[in-house]
Symmetry: C2
């Protein structure tokens, strides 16, 4: 089987994902929390993590990067998940647009700007001023309405280094037990460090559990998750469907929506991710999701890279990367639209080869 | 009659405009050319013209402004054309999105960013570095493809103070006789001043006629017109139609397209403007257009504000404003979609009244 359905997956939703008019939206942003050494491997150094979202979407859209000289691939050749999502876009021809919720480094491709700001280090100060948080949310709802009035389904992905840490902080601040349950791009999830950062952030904020999700995000969150929540509200308000394409970070989006009393209806909202993330034993996507949304619907891509001829790609099956830039959702969509696993593998390898052709050899 | 057809208007094009899936796109930008005293009345002072595009689209989308304390209305009560376009959006429910090609002051609403830059004063230096000009053009084509793949027709409007002056400069630099033929938001078109500025710009650039339209725009243009040309190319490339919603500035867009050997086919590209602009005796829209595009198709809105109860609105029939923020194109579209002139007038007056209710009385 190519796609596994868990929970209350709606057949009508799947039909729309299979053949409806879809758009892929990638929300980018940064948080200075990513500068904490060891918290993320989404960048060759802590400082370079600020370039990752911009480089990810430049690569996704144009197949090359402008803000950094080479495409986002680790020194030992493990590429950004944007590569897999790009292969899916090329196969399905689903139109794609980037939304900037607040980035320190801006991409040199077009994007929809929400007039947000980059998030601060959640240990040392509020992530976002409350008025900035409200503006991102308000503008995201309006963009969501615009997108929702023109498509049948919107696939929402994200790129924000250290996003699992701020996601954990958001969920904890909203009263959910997210401690140590979020995922990581590394096979060695730095769970202890993440928990310590979240504890420090919550202590600094001076509130254990927030009633208002916007206050929680303003205190210990980041621009991306509140943007995703606003987009979802606007899209569904227009009668359109949303596929949240991501891992444990999307649980944080659902936690915000739940606290806003949004109707979490699997007819209109489902989540999709990868097998790499769901079957990871160092995180607990399904447990976390069940706690936040008892009626959840989850689509899992069973696509694997274990048979790739490239070690950099096989690494995905060894616990590296796992999710990001909408990879899981785009894989699920591409599989449901009738492309075989081997067709996807070929396209991924073709795009991977182009990276190395474009990099001058030493 | 509500809409007048001039030139090679295509019935199929009109049918799509009547009932197709439409989107309204407003391209904003600034040029420091607007700081020349007397060149434009699109702002209470030369410095404030840099706020006008941002304020226009904030008002268009949200019905209020954030970058300036009160909505864009002159001290004696003549409102921005964004008011009329907003009334048309409210009636037709056509989704609307803003594209930023390069603004000194950014709006606090969402927009698609083309990674451009504000234009410099064309008398004193190149308007845009050539790589910035190329990036705007490249990114606009991609955004155009995105929009074109999702709609049947795109209505393209603009807001750039002093845009008629840079439009004249672009057309002259491409070898067309645009001297003194462009329009003005003022009933007293400062034609002499505009011609002097264009002459200075052309002299400074050191080239009489440019072969490459991107070089011409880089030298004596601005970010908005090249963005509109790129968007048009991308949209039509996706099999979608474009209505250029504007006055003599849209002639500059057509001049760029013509020099790029773009197929100017009225089946896919037409222009719409207002009666206020076309019948103005201080400019020559039809003469200019005929010179650039012998096969042109022009739709003219016959909507008038002479019967309004408000002097600020009646001023439109006395030669003020005339065009901008896609007003003519949105009026044509709204009329073709079956709304009567009196329905439009009521909605315009309703929105006009809200401006004064929102302004604290002195």
């Amino acid at each position: 089987m190519s796609v596994k359905f868990v929970g209350n997956v709606s057949q009508r939703f799947v039909d729309v994902l299979k053949s409806g008019d879809a758009v892929f939206v990638v929300v980018i942003g940064t948080t200075d929390t990513s500068l904490i050494p060891g918290i993320t491997i989404a960048g060759a150094s802590p400082e370079l993590t600020h370039y990752t979202p911009a480089a990810d979407v430049e690569f996704l859209i144009d197949g090359k990067c402008y803000v950094i000289p080479t495409p986002p691939v680790t020194p030992d050749g493990k590429p950004t998940p944007a590569l897999i999502s790009r292969a899916c876009i090329l196969l399905t021809k689903i139109p794609t647009i980037v939304v900037n919720s607040g980035c320190r480094v801006l991409p040199n491709i077009p994007y929809i700007d929400l007039r947000g700001m980059p998030g601060r280090d959640i240990r040392t100060g509020n992530a976002l001023d409350i008025e900035v948080c409200r503006r991102i949310f308000h503008n995201a709802i309006n963009v969501g309405k615009f997108l929702g009035s023109n498509f049948d389904i919107v696939i929402l992905g994200e790129s924000i280094p250290a996003g699992t840490t701020t996601a954990m902080a958001i969920m904890v601040a909203l009263g959910f037990n997210a401690w140590g349950r979020v995922s990581s791009a590394s096979p060695n999830n730095p769970i202890e460090l993440k928990c310590r950062v979240v504890r420090e952030a919550i202590r600094r904020a001076g509130v254990e559990v927030f009633e208002d999700p916007l206050q929680a995000v303003s205190a210990v969150g980041d621009p991306v998750h509140i943007a995703l929540a606003g987009l979802t509200i606007g899209i569904v308000d227009s009668g359109c469907r949303v596929l949240l394409a991501g891992g444990t970070q999307m649980c944080a989006v659902v936690s915000i929506l739940r606290k806003l009393d949004f109707n979490l209806d699997p007819e209109f909202l489902e989540i999709a991710t990868t097998r790499w993330l769901v079957y990871d034993r160092q995180s607990d996507m399904i447990g976390l999701l069940s706690e936040i949304w008892n009626n959840y619907a989850l689509l899992i891509s069973e696509f694997s890279l274990s048979e790739s001829k490239y070690p950099g790609l096989k690494a995905y099956d060894e616990g590296f990367v796992k999710e990001g830039v909408g990879m899981g959702g785009m894989l699920v969509t591409t599989l449901l639209r009738g492309f075989s696993k081997s067709e996807i593998l070929s396209k991924v390898e073709e795009e991977y080869e182009k990276i190395f052709k474009s990099v001058p050899s030493e």
